[in-house]
């Protein structure tokens, strides 16, 4: 009995504060928003959340290394454009080429950030701009339609057993992220880089290689999201989902990942993604006017991060700033280091 109380207490201490927000959101919307809890809407939310989930997984990888990737929206747009332009080679090779383009963007980010130590914000701001230009040039700014095909639509509309394909992909993404964070050396190096880069270097770890791999891994997650999105809009769009990278950053922050690196859990990412998607869906179902939606989303983002600060998880002032009084070599929230 005491054991159960104990673990419950530990769960309460461990659970990201955003979990409570999510519970309140879901409860409130179930009561007030018509059709929110219907099976069809749940599947809609799931499929929309899946894209954000995969991108947020990528964002989480670079955020724990004290990084940031703004270029993700441009990368998925490039993937959609490349895929549709190369569709004559067959659907799988076309998607593979699109994914390759995303990985190339990730490799450029990784190279510049790891090898030349250009700040991640600046690097990915550059690739965000350049890659958007590139995908626009490839199609002269006009969206290109993919020929109708069941296989092309599968990643967004298909299903595996009872689950729809995007949800399966997102679940796989979460499992991969969990394994990377908890079971692999590279994952631990990422956390160490994020919490104390000097210590990581002093320990003789190959920090550069790990940083490079973080951006390429992030790109791999983004490519999976791009697969769903491209299939979803069934076309190559230079302006596919312009706010995607920022939504992912918000989701990670809401889920309790520290933007100063070294701290974060997969459960947090899941909760953050759900908060963002559920609130957007709820506002739509409540038929709130579109500008009020923007206001509510903004307030919600800041409020939930503030909530995280208020419940004892101290926020930090800014990216890259170690907080006073914290010993950098250990990470809180039970992340064990090698």
């Amino acid at each position: 009995m005491t054991h159960a109380v104990d673990s419950l207490r530990r769960f309460r201490a461990d659970a990201p504060p955003a979990l409570y927000l999510l519970v309140v959101l879901v409860a409130g919307l179930t009561i007030f928003a018509p059709g929110f809890a219907s099976a069809h809407n749940v599947s809609n939310v799931g499929r929309t959340a899946a894209v954000l989930a995969l991108v947020a997984c990528g964002q989480a990888v670079v955020i724990v290394t004290r990084g940031l990737d703004l270029s993700m929206a441009s990368a998925v747009a490039l993937m959609s454009v490349v895929t549709v332009l190369e569709i004559d080679r067959g659907i799988i090779p076309a998607f593979a080429l699109g994914a390759l383009a995303v990985l190339a963007v990730g490799a450029v980010n990784g190279l510049l950030i790891a090898r030349f130590e250009i700040p991640p914000f600046l690097t990915t701001l550059g690739t965000l701009t350049a890659v958007h230009g590139l995908s626009s040039v490839l199609v002269a700014g006009i969206p290109v339609e993919a020929p109708p095909s069941g296989a092309f639509s599968w990643p967004s509309n298909g299903s595996v057993g009872p689950l729809s394909a995007p949800i399966v992909l997102a679940l796989v993404g979460f499992v991969v992220l969990g394994v990377l964070f908890r079971r692999t050396t590279i994952g631990r190096i990422w956390f160490l880089i994020g919490s104390n880069p000097e210590a990581a270097r002093a320990a003789g770890l190959r920090v550069r290689r790990a940083t490079f791999l973080a951006y390429v891994t992030a790109a791999a997650f983004v490519a999976a999201a791009g697969l769903i999105l491209t299939s979803r809009v069934h076309s190559g769009q230079p302006d596919l989902d312009p706010t995607l990278a920022f939504e992912a950053i918000a989701a990670c922050a809401i889920g309790g990942l520290s933007l100063s690196g070294g701290r974060g859990r997969v459960s947090g990412v899941i909760i953050g993604v759900l908060v963002v998607t559920v609130s957007a869906n709820g506002l739509l179902l409540l038929n709130v006017s579109s500008d009020v939606q923007l206001i509510v989303v903004g307030v919600l983002t800041v409020a939930s991060v503030l909530g995280a600060g208020a419940t004892g998880r101290r926020g930090r002032w800014s990216v890259g700033r170690p907080s006073v009084g914290q010993t950098p070599a250990t990470t809180p929230a039970g992340e064990k280091l090698p």
Partner: protein
């Protein structure tokens, strides 16, 4: 040559060396593309056009020095522009005062969130970006709000004094004010200290909450002033104006030598950074290059600025023995002009702490 560069950078110019370099390169390139680029009159045009970008980039510089940035500036400028035009239509020219007030208000909110509640700048200003944009769309009813009657600010948008665009005079005056604030006042010193060594700054009694509040409030205020220039040019408040401005102003500041790791940056170079971005747009447009290709080039330039900054630092630090850096990271000088970099200073401070 190395010594010369090192000398320059010892005087604190190192980071800013990139911007003039870029400008010279771009003007040389454009002189092959079109003769117009080098004409004095066109330069005047550029100086006038760059005002909104340059003014906000100055604000961006202030928060970048504190290791932050502000991605809400574009939305805030739109909100300030629309509210001020509505007030002018209702109350007369006194309503223009609302633009800086709205800007300042938004900046204060950012500052409280970031300084007092320690929300990361990217989240706090992302929230403000969304809220300000939603507000401006809601109060304007998704419509542009035109000034009724003549535009009292058209001189600010288009006029010139003794051949110099008035908007540039305003920009220059603001740049001087920011320079004085950063280098001659206590507040400026606090901003620098906080950016180059946050724990150290706190130890010597700099309040991060107040300093950050001040920095973000100023950035908001400058966004509000830039809104006046936008109204001067457009004669209307546009609820959709300013999208993308947040990123191009950060780019201008960084091309102008501001370092996102904090502690470094000079307003005059930021003006040059802004002029460079404006001349890039202008020159490439006149050369008939599509806006898409312009984006590719701008992206490449941002990356190039990062690389060039790195190269300048590397050259200057290789003058000195690179002691203290481990073998795996020969390039991690992390320092500018021989001063230990923020991270190294932080470490040094930590070591110091542990000893006691």
């Amino acid at each position: 040559m190395r010594r010369l560069i090192a000398q320059l950078s010892l005087q604190g110019i190192g980071g800013g060396l990139v911007a003039p370099l870029c400008l010279v390169v771009s003007i040389t390139v454009f002189s092959f593309l079109s003769a117009e680029e080098l004409q004095v009159s066109n330069l005047k045009g550029l100086l006038g056009q760059m005002a909104p970008l340059a003014i906000i980039a100055l604000g961006q510089l202030i928060v970048i020095i504190t290791r932050g940035f502000d991605i809400s500036v574009g939305s805030v400028a739109a909100l300030a522009a629309v509210i001020s035009v509505m007030c002018v239509n209702a109350l007369g020219p006194i309503g223009f005062a609302m633009a800086p007030i709205v800007g300042l208000g938004c900046g204060l909110v950012n500052g409280v969130l970031i300084g007092r509640f320690r929300v990361q700048p990217v989240i706090a200003t992302l929230g403000m970006l969304s809220v300000a944009r939603g507000l401006v769309l809601a109060i304007s009813g998704n419509q542009a709000v035109a000034l009724e009657g003549d535009n009292p600010l058209s001189q600010l948008g288009y006029g010139s004094l003794a051949g110099i665009p008035i908007s540039f005079l305003v920009t220059a005056a603001l740049a001087i004010a920011v320079t004085v604030m950063l280098s001659r006042t206590r507040a400026g010193r606090r901003i620098h200290m906080l950016g180059s060594n946050p724990p150290g700054a706190e130890l010597v009694g700099v309040s991060p909450a107040r300093t950050l509040l001040f920095a973000y409030a100023l950035t908001g205020l400058l966004a509000g002033i830039a809104a006046l220039v936008l109204v001067g040019r457009a004669g209307a408040g546009l609820p959709t104006e300013g999208q993308g401005l947040e990123l191009s102003t950060i780019a201008a500041a960084v091309i102008g030598g501001a370092n996102l790791a904090g502690g470094v940056g000079k307003p005059v170079f930021v003006l040059i950074g802004a002029l460079f971005i404006q001349s890039l747009n202008n020159g490439l447009t006149l050369a008939g290059i599509s806006s898409f290709t312009q984006e590719i080039i701008l992206g490449a330039v941002i990356l190039g600025a990062g690389l060039a900054d790195r190269a300048v630092r590397w050259i200057t630090t290789s003058q000195r023995s690179r002691r203290g850096t481990d073998g795996a990271f020969p390039m991690d000088g992390g320092s500018c002009g021989g001063r230990p970099g923020p991270r190294r200073r932080w470490l040094r401070w930590q070591r110091h702490e542990r000893r006691h």
